[in-house]
C-alpha cells in the first residue's frame, strides 16, 4: 500500500451532505475487475452531462481543482454501499486526503486500506478551511504531527494510532495478520470442539 506522510495542495470544497458511494462512483463502473482506471469516472453524474461532456461548472472540472489532492466535504461522506471502488476512484483521480465532519463506517475503513487519509473535523473548522478552497490557496496536512496547516493557523486532528501507523508505513495488514497464524489455528481448533457445526462440511 502507498504510504501517507504529508501533503500540500489547494483543497476542493464540495459542500454537499450525505454524498453516497453511488454518487462517488456509479454502478456502471463496478463491472471492472481491476482497481485502477476509475478516476475519470469519479463523481460521474456531477461531472458529465447526459452526452458524456464535462459540465464546466462542476468544481473538479475546473483548474486548479482538477489537480487537487484534498477534498473537503459535507457530513456522512461515503454512505451507502461497501464498494471499495469509491476510494479507488478518489485515489485514481489523485485525492489522498478527505476532510469531513463524519464518514460512513465501511467507507472510512476502506480509505485506510488504500493509503487515503480521512480526517474528521467539526463543522466550524471545516467552514474555516474551506475558505482556502474558495481562495485557491494551498493547505498542508501532516499525519505524523496530526496537523493541518493553513495560512498562519494550524489545527490538530484525531486518528486511531494503529491506523496512523499503517498509513505512515504503508503496512500490508494481511501480512500483519498472517503473523498471527498460530493463534488463528488454535482458535480454529477450539471452534472444532465447541461449535463443530461451523466446519460441518
Amino acid at each position: 500500500m502507498q504510504k501517507f506522510i504529508s501533503l500540500k495542495s489547494i483543497p476542493t470544497y464540495l459542500p454537499l451532505v450525505n454524498i453516497d458511494t453511488d454518487m462517488i462512483i456509479p454502478k456502471q463502473f463496478l463491472k471492472t475487475i481491476k482497481r485502477t482506471g476509475l478516476g475519470k469516472n469519479l463523481f460521474f453524474e456531477l461531472r458529465y452531462d447526459e452526452k458524456g461532456k464535462e459540465i464546466p461548472d462542476f468544481i473538479l472540472n475546473k483548474k486548479p481543482f482538477c489537480n487537487s489532492n484534498i477534498l473537503i466535504t459535507g457530513k456522512n461522506f461515503g454512505c451507502g454501499s461497501s464498494r471499495e471502488h469509491a476510494p479507488w476512484a478518489l485515489l485514481d483521480f489523485g485525492i489522498t486526503c478527505i476532510i469531513s465532519s463524519s464518514y460512513a463506517d465501511i467507507f472510512y475503513n476502506n480509505c485506510f486500506k488504500n493509503g487515503i487519509l480521512p480526517i474528521v473535523l467539526n463543522e466550524d473548522k471545516i467552514k474555516e478551511i474551506s475558505e482556502y478552497s474558495n481562495r485557491k490557496e494551498e493547505i498542508s496536512v501532516n499525519l505524523a504531527d496530526q496537523k493541518i496547516i493553513y495560512g498562519n493557523n494550524e489545527i490538530s486532528f484525531e486518528i486511531d494510532p494503529f491506523k496512523k501507523k499503517c498509513l505512515l508505513e504503508g503496512l500490508d495488514d494481511i501480512a500483519l495478520s498472517l503473523e498471527k497464524s498460530e493463534k488463528i489455528k488454535s482458535f480454529e481448533n477450539k471452534i472444532k470442539n465447541q461449535r463443530p457445526w461451523i466446519f460441518n462440511d
Binding site: 454537499l16 451532505v17 450525505n18 453516497d20 453511488d22 454518487m23 456509479p26 454502478k27 456502471q28 463496478l30 463491472k31 471492472t32 475487475i33 481491476k34 482497481r35 453524474e45 447526459e50 459535507g74 457530513k75 456522512n76 454512505c79 451507502g80 454501499s81 461497501s82 464498494r83 471499495e84 476510494p87 463524519s102 460512513a104 463506517d105 465501511i106 475503513n109 476502506n110 486500506k113 488504500n114 486511531d160 494510532p161 494503529f162 500490508d172 495488514d173 494481511i174 495478520s177 498472517l178 498471527k180 497464524s181 493463534k183 488463528i184 482458535f187 480454529e188 471452534i191 461449535r195 463443530p196 457445526w197 461451523i198 466446519f199 460441518n200 462440511d201
Partner: protein
C-alpha cells in the same frame, strides 16, 4: 457483568486483541459475489497467498446477472467477464459457487439463509453493505470492502474495533397493512442515515419477537441505511425451525448441540446499551420515501416537505436539491405522486412472504395501464416456490413481468433500469440519485404498497386494498 448479544458474539470470536482495542476477529461465514471479489482474488494471486478456509466461503453471482432469458448467456461483455471471473476464481481456490444456471442462485442475502449457511451466533461478512440482513438470525453480520474480502480469504479473520451497543425497541402490534418495511423506514426516518454510525443495533421488543424470520430480515437488511454496521435480533424458536433441515444446517446430534448453544444467545438482563430508542407499533403507518436519502420518509397520508419551513440552511438546501431531483413540488400529497414503474424484489423484499404479500393485493386486479411493473424473485428457490403457489399467475394476470432472480433494478447494474425522470415505486432499499438508473426517481415502499401503487398508478394506501 451482564453482556449484550453483540458483546457475546464479539467475545466468542476474538482471536487476538491489541492494547489499543484493535482486534482480530474470526469469521465463520464469508459470502462473496462477482462485483466486489475479483480484485481480492487478484490480490491473493499477486502476493502468492491462498484461501485459508475455502469451505467457510460461499459464492453466488447476483448483482450483474440478466433477469430475462438466460439460455443465451450474458450479452453485456463486462458483466460477462465479471461473472466468468468469479467462476474461474472459485474453481482455482476451491470455493463453492451457485452459478447463474443453478436453482439455488439468487441474491447473496437471500441464498445464505435459504441454504442454512447463515447461522445464529456466527460472524458473517460479505463485500456488500446489506450483509446486516443475516443479523435476523442472531449473527453478527456486516459488509466489508474488497481489501477486507481479501483479508478474510487469506486469514479467515478481520481486523475490527468494537462498536457501541444501540438498542431499538418496538413494542405493540402492527395495524393491518403495515409491515416490517414500514417499521424500518420509520426507524431510519427517526434516527437519520447517520444515526447508527459506530454502532451495532439490536432490535428488540414484543413486536420484533412477533415477526416472522423473513420480516426480521427486512428490518436487519436496512440497518445500513441507518448508518449502523450491523443489526441483529435474539434468535428464538422461529429461527431454529426455519433453519432445521436446510442443506447447510447442522444435522443429527450436532443439531441438538447447536440449538442448545443458540438458545443462550441473548442480551443479559441489565446489560448496558450506549443508546436506546423506542417505537410503538400501533403508531406506525404505511411509509414512502419522497427524496433521495432513505431518511426522507413520510407516511402515505403525509405530504412532501416544504424547504421554506426549514430553518437550518444545510437542511433547506438539501431538501431543495432532493425535490428538484425528484421532480416534486413542496407540499405535494404522497397520494398525488404518479408513478411510471413498479419494482418488487431485492434482498430487502424479494423473498416468498414478500411476494405473497404483493400477490394478495394484486389478486383479480389489473395494474394501471401506464405503469410498467416487474417482479424479480430473490432466488431461484423463491421463484420455484412462488410458481408452485401460483403467485406468478397472479402477477402476470395483473400485468407484471415475472423475471429470473437477481439484484436487478435495485441497483440497475444489468439491463433493468429507470430512464431519466422515470418514477418508480420500489421495494428495494436505496433511493439515492441515480441508484435505479441515471435521473431515475425512486420511492421506497413495502411490497403491498408497491402492489397498491401499481393498481392505482400513483403512490397509494395499501390499506384500501386490504380485504
Amino acid at each position: 457483568m451482564p453482556h449484550t448479544l453483540y458483546d457475546k458474539i464479539w467475545n466468542d470470536h476474538l482471536v487476538h486483541e491489541q492494547d489499543d482495542g484493535t482486534a482480530l476477529l474470526f469469521v465463520d461465514r464469508h459470502l462473496i459475489h462477482e462485483v466486489t471479489s475479483p480484485q481480492a482474488f487478484e490480490g491473493l494471486r499477486n502476493s502468492n497467498r491462498t484461501v485459508r478456509q475455502p469451505s467457510l466461503t460461499l459464492a453466488v453471482a447476483d448483482h450483474n446477472v440478466p433477469t430475462t432469458d438466460r439460455s443465451k448467456g450474458i450479452s453485456d461483455q463486462e458483466s460477462k467477464i465479471q461473472v466468468e471471473t468469479l467462476e474461474a476464481n472459485c474453481k482455482e481456490f476451491g470455493i463453492k459457487l451457485f452459478g447463474m444456471d443453478d436453482k439455488r442462485q439468487g441474491i447473496v442475502h437471500v441464498t445464505g439463509p435459504e441454504q442454512g449457511f447463515t447461522q445464529p451466533g456466527t460472524v458473517i461478512v460479505c463485500g456488500d453493505s446489506h450483509t446486516a440482513t443475516h443479523g435476523a438470525f442472531g449473527s453478527l453480520a456486516f459488509g466489508i470492502g474488497t481489501s477486507e474480502v481479501e483479508h478474510v480469504l487469506a486469514t479467515q479473520t478481520l481486523v475490527q474495533k468494537k462498536a457501541k451497543n444501540f438498542r431499538i425497541n418496538v413494542n405493540g402490534k402492527l395495524p393491518l397493512g403495515v409491515t416490517s418495511k414500514d417499521v424500518i423506514l420509520q426507524i431510519i426516518g427517526k434516527i437519520g442515515t447517520a444515526g447508527g454510525t459506530g454502532c451495532v443495533i439490536e432490535y428488540a421488543g414484543d413486536l420484533i419477537r412477533s415477526l416472522s424470520v423473513e420480516q426480521r430480515m427486512t428490518i436487519c437488511n436496512m440497518t445500513i441505511e441507518g448508518g449502523a454496521r450491523a443489526g441483529l435480533i435474539e434468535p428464538d424458536e422461529k429461527i431454529f425451525n426455519y433453519l432445521k433441515g436446510r442443506p447447510m444446517s447442522p444435522k443429527g446430534e450436532t443439531w441438538d448441540k447447536a440449538v442448545e448453544v443458540w438458545s443462550n444467545l441473548n442480551s443479559d438482563n441489565g446489560s448496558h446499551f450506549d443508546k436506546e430508542v423506542s417505537l410503538t407499533a400501533e403508531e406506525i403507518i404505511p411509509m414512502v420515501t419522497w427524496g433521495t436519502s432513505p431518511q426522507d420518509v413520510i407516511t402515505i397520508e403525509g405530504k412532501v416537505p416544504n424547504p421554506n419551513t426549514e430553518k437550518d440552511l444545510d437542511k433547506k438546501n438539501s431538501i431543495e436539491r432532493s425535490l428538484k431531483y425528484m421532480g416534486l413540488k413542496p407540499d405535494t400529497l404522497a397520494k398525488d405522486i404518479k408513478i411510471d414503474k413498479v419494482f418488487i424484489g431485492s434482498c430487502t423484499n424479494g423473498r416468498i412472504e414478500d411476494l405473497r404479500e404483493a400477490a394478495k393485493i394484486l389478486k383479480n386486479k389489473k395494474k394501471a395501464s401506464h405503469v410498467h411493473a416487474m417482479v424479480v424473485p430473490g432466488s431461484g428457490l423463491v421463484k420455484q416456490q412462488a410458481e408452485q403457489e401460483g403467485l406468478d399467475k397472479i402477477f402476470i394476470n395483473s400485468g407484471f413481468e415475472w423475471r429470473e432472480p437477481g439484484c436487478s433494478m435495485c441497483l440497475a447494474m444489468n439491463a433493468d433500469k429507470l430512464k431519466p425522470e422515470e418514477r418508480c415505486a420500489s421495494t428495494s432499499n436505496r433511493n439515492f440519485e441515480g441508484r435505479q438508473g441515471r435521473g431515475g426517481r425512486t420511492h421506497l415502499v413495502s411490497p403491498g404498497m408497491a402492489a397498491a401503487a401499481a393498481i392505482s398508478g400513483n403512490l397509494d394506501d395499501v390499506r384500501k386494498y386490504q380485504n
